[in-house]
Amino acid sequence: MSAVTAEHEHDEHHDHGPEKGLLRWIITTNHKDIGTLYLLFALAMFFVGGAMALVIRAELFEPGMQFVSPQFFNSMTTMHALVMVFGAVMPAFVGFANWQIPLMIGAPDMALPRMNNMSFWMLVGGILLLASTLFMEGGAPASGWTLYPPLVLQTGAALPFAIFAVHMLGISSIMGAINIIATIFNMRAPKMTLMKMPLFVWTWLITAFLLIAIMPVFAGAVTMLLTDRFFDTSFFNAAGGGDPVLYQHIFWFFGHPEVYVMILPTFGVASTIIPVFARKPLFGYSSMVYATAAIAFLSFIVWAHHMFTVGMPIAGELYFMYATMLIAIPTGVKIFNWTATMWQGSMTFETPMLFSIAFVVLFTLGGFTGLMMALAPVDFQYHDTYFIVAHFHYTLVPASIFILMAGGYFWLPKWTGNMYDEKLAKFHFWLSAISVNILFFPQHFLGLAGMPRRIPDYAVQFADWNMVSSIGAFIFGFSQLLFLYIVIKTIKGGTGEKVSDEVWEDAHKHGLEWTLPSPVPYHTFATPPEKIPTEHF
């Protein structure tokens, strides 16, 4: 039996290149193709979600209502979040996972290639369903991405479409996560033991567990919204014995791990990039792994810190406050470890490193405000103001998004064999790093001064900082077109200089992917590699 398979294998892998034409992308099972699809889709959605953010910031540029109706404004805040979370950040990291995990662990492909293809197309289907609501009677959902009842039940024709979109996105994420777990557990090169895996692989393994545990929870919650609206159930209706707050508990049981789904792979990429440019092994590899696991565990038991003002029994308030504060410990360990990795390194500052350092600094700022909000009594002031908007954007934009950029610059030369334009890329970095702070830092002030979130218009004392923030938003938004240009240029040939196999100086010490030729061949590791980079562990 195995002889037959081996022969088959031979045909498959050594003689078979990609399909011709557009069909290649529809029916592909190649992890690199699917990774590319995910990344391009995420990039497109990044601009769609970004355009929505600019509608928001344009309306908030000045007090008074200038451009859109309040209802449409609410649709924009809702859709911006949903598109960015489910269409941009998550798929981008899945794209990295698809490209990098098999390369990093020495596997020929993902464990379940056909399902891999399905994960991607289900994602597209889900986002299409979601986007279709923009053109519906009554408009797109306008109740915030959290879809709280009873407000969300007032949504027009869009409601069932948004709910089914969540179902499809859930199917996509669960299948993607299962694939990643099976790949990591089952496809590693013989010498690649668990504690020798690159941290990016580790963080994705843990993220995949989170996804499998939480996406069904979200699916269940929105299913109850559907039945409450269309089938007379009373889950979130007090008159029938239900409770609108129950939805919030379920949502945040999903929602808190969900935000870690976006940040854990971020940690992984940063832990991969920083040692390369510090020319030093990652400090505290095993403590990084344990810290990631600890953060993932904690994410399941802190959800109600999103709901301190909702009216919980005092024991609940206190418990969730203490549990939330604990997150600072493993997160701190990570930040200290990255700092220690840089310490006494021999650093150079290519664009991936610049974005990574900006990530460490600005994510730490987001972490500080996180700690502040963990204190329940103070959160009674911060909650649902621009302070929280500033907080989570700091943990998502100059953290997750910056690291996605860093990863893009870091691996694109490997994937394409072409070098990006370093000068332009550095310009892109500085534009982004400065404008992102102009955009989000003033929002701390706005929140503290009393400006609630999700409002289309505000009192005049908030005018100045809103204007500053909007200016930052437009600079940041348009700077990203530069990123698009650099990426396209790199794919099309870059600077013309062909990159070496290891691309970055001594990168081969840091990971298996740098031992492969550049650009990476269509099929890699048909036989598992004999040696793995060990000197760093």
Binding site: M1, S2, V4, T5, A6, H8, E9, H16, E19, I27, T28, P108, A111, L112, P113, R114, N117, M118, W121, G125, S132, A157, F161, F164, M168, I171, I174, A177, I178, I181, A182, T183, N186, M187, R188, M192, I212, A213, P216, V217, A221, L226, T227, D232, T233, S234, F235, N237, A239, G240, G241, G242, D243, V245, H249, I250, P313, G316, T527, P528
Partner: protein
């Protein structure tokens, strides 16, 4: 890791996933339109469902053929088993939501509405002065009108015995497969499938009774909502499990599966046991307590 990893089968194209997506999207968009009162919705649902069923048939046939022609080595089998395990875990989480809902409403929100306990319970009862915390309840608004709660010791108990027995017959069939006793395999599977469908039929009778004689509907406040949501989703999973087992039965009768290579059988059996265990939870928390 795997000594035979070099022979791990990697398909080079997949035509069914895109069909799955188109089918599911059509089905869901159709359903959404139907819910919004669009007459065309149900047509689209049918089209989507047909595409989806054809896809399932096609994809599973492809997998079965590949498996029977020996294209899957041990490594592939391990991947499939992991995938099934984690899929079942995600299903457990899905049911956990509804069990959690039952727990929360029963122990917290119904109490609070009757001004029992701390937090919102300190004064919410003011809004509902005559409401008392009892279970089952359709809430202080008497939503859905008078109803009779579902007892545990009629059909539900019988159904528990049926499902437990089907678990035993399923394991017996597995033993048959491992001991190369094909007739035991087929008999065991047939018995499991038949018991599964009897369970579903009894469940249907129970629902009939609830709706037409007891006044208990999905709209009977939180009790009706949790009761039908939990038992309904479980019933749906029993149907799916029984259909999978039917396919496995059909394949067994065609001589598929060997003691070493029978992932489809194992997956179906795991799924069936999962459905079994969920039912036990239901019987205890929904019917008995």
């Amino acid at each position: 890791m795997m000594s035979t990893q070099g022979a791990y089968y990697i398909p080079h194209k997949a035509t069914w996933p895109i069909a799955a997506t188109i089918g599911l999207m059509t089905l869901l968009a159709g359903f959404a339109n139907y819910l919004n009162g669009n007459a065309a919705g149900s047509t689209f649902m049918l089209i989507g469902l047909s595409i989806f069923i054809i896809m399932i048939g096609g994809w599973f046939t492809l997998q079965a053929t590949e498996s029977e022609t020996g294209m899957y080595n041990k490594g592939v089998g391990i991947s499939y088993r992991m995938a099934m395990m984690w899929f079942i875990f995600s299903e457990i989480m899905f049911f956990a939501v509804f069990f959690g809902t039952l727990w929360y409403t029963r122990n917290l929100s119904v109490d609070w509405l009757a001004s029992v306990g701390d937090g919102p319970g300190r004064s919410s009862g003011m809004l509902w002065p005559s409401f008392e915390s009892v279970w089952p309840t359709n809430g202080p608004g008497n939503v859905g009108g008078e109803y009779e709660p579902m007892g545990a010791f009629g059909l539900p108990l019988l159904n528990t015995l049926i499902l437990l027995t089907s678990g035993v017959t399923c394991t017996w069939a597995h033993h048959g497969l491992i001991e190369k006793n094909r007739s035991q395999l087929i008999k065991g599977l047939a018995a499991t499938v038949i018991l599964g469908f009897i369970f579903v039929a009894f469940q249907a009778i129970e629902y009939q009774e609830a709706y037409h004689e007891m006044g208990l509907t999905l709209g009977s406040g939180i009790y009706g909502s949790t009761f039908f949501m939990l038992t309904g989703f479980h019933g749906f999973h029993v149907c799916v499990g029984a259909i999978i087992l039917t396919v496995v039965l059909f394949r067994s009768s065609k001589g598929h599966f060997t003691p070493e290579n029978h992932f489809a059988f194992e997956a179906a059996a795991w799924y069936w046991h999962f459905v079994d265990v969920v039912w036990l939870g239901l019987f205890i928390f929904v019917y008995m307590m």
